[in-house]
């Protein structure tokens, strides 16, 4: 037997595995997804920069729909329950998850929050992730739709600088479009960068505070919710 590394030793045995690691988070995310699909609940994971307007977009959504649709929101923030207070004031049920040192929500936190919220069939579930363009992209929560909310003040090159986030998105919302005439943001350049990273994502331009463009956002969510309810896969 080799003294340096032990090679050639008859007592060393190799176990062939060749398995893709289904990380603990992924396994829990699949569990969440199955649970949500069973109850026909559309789960939307809202990600994006701090201050892009994720909460504002949710507030506008809730105000439009609160009269005839049950909306549940899981709010992820490093600290405080300020966002869940805003969500509750807008008229939806909120569950705040304070992540502390954590920079993202994970599937276990969503699992616990779901048990707390106890959603009913046909409910709409929004998960507002921690504001961060890096880590949330790497953690599947069991959602049906992944949305990135971004805004013109962040600059046009963010899709290139944070590719996993934009690659993972089904929908990219450019919010605060009322600022476009006032900031040095080239919309065509930004759109081209999003398309280079992700050729499929739907791009929706909104101004959550005034409600401009929000109709297109609501239609996107509602179409998906309806298809889930009638069992069409899209």
């Amino acid at each position: 037997m080799c003294d340096t590394c032990g090679c050639g030793s008859p007592s060393v045995r190799t176990i062939d595995v060749d398995e893709r690691l289904l990380a603990l988070n992924t396994a829990m995310a699949e569990h969440n997804r199955a649970h949500l699909a069973e109850r026909k609940i559309l789960a939307v994971n809202l990600m994006g920069t701090p201050g892009a307007g994720k909460t504002a977009l949710l507030e506008t959504t809730i105000v439009k729909w609160r009269a005839y649709r049950r909306i549940l929101v899981i709010e992820g923030d490093q600290a405080t329950d300020r966002d869940s207070a805003r969500i509750a004031a807008a008229g939806a049920t909120a569950c705040q998850v304070e992540t502390g040192l954590g920079c993202h929500l994970d599937a276990h936190q969503i699992h616990d929050a779901l048990h707390h919220l106890d959603p009913r069939e046909g409910d709409l579930l929004f998960i507002e992730n921690v504001g961060n363009l890096v880590c949330p992209a790497l953690f599947d929560l069991g959602e049906r739709l992944r949305v990135v909310v971004t805004s013109p003040t962040e600059g046009a090159d963010k899709p290139l600088k944070y590719p996993p986030m934009f690659r993972a998105a089904h929908v990219v919302v450019l919010n605060k479009c009322d600022l476009l005439p006032h900031v040095p943001f080239n919309l065509d350049e930004w759109t081209a960068y999003v398309r280079e990273i992700n050729s499929h994502a739907r791009i929706i331009k909104t101004t959550a505070l005034s409600g401009d463009g929000v109709g297109e956002w609501l239609a996107e969510i509602d179409n998906l919710r309806r298809s889930l309810l009638v069992g069409i896969s899209v």
Partner: protein
Amino acid sequence: MHELSLARDLLGAIERKLYPGDARVVRVNVGIGSATGIMSESLRFAFRVICEGTRIGGAELCVTTIAARSRCGNCGILFEFDGMIGRCPACGRFSGELLCGDEMILRTIEVADV
């Protein structure tokens, strides 16, 4: 990245493959896609720390890189690249659809009986 939690997942996956009689793990071979953003050095460090005191403690973690492959969304050609984002060699645009390179694979576990 989150190498510490990945190391914990890796430790769990290894434990599930071992038999009670397996005395000591000497080497673990993993493949990591270049588009995962996982840093091998950080993973090795986290793995060493997390395995201390177990029968996997002291095992060498051998990491091989799996090249990321993409299909260009513009011209449709397949190309390999290194890192998290790749530029199409034909048309110069950034990657379209990622085909592989975002995975972590546990390949083999080498076990010593004593």
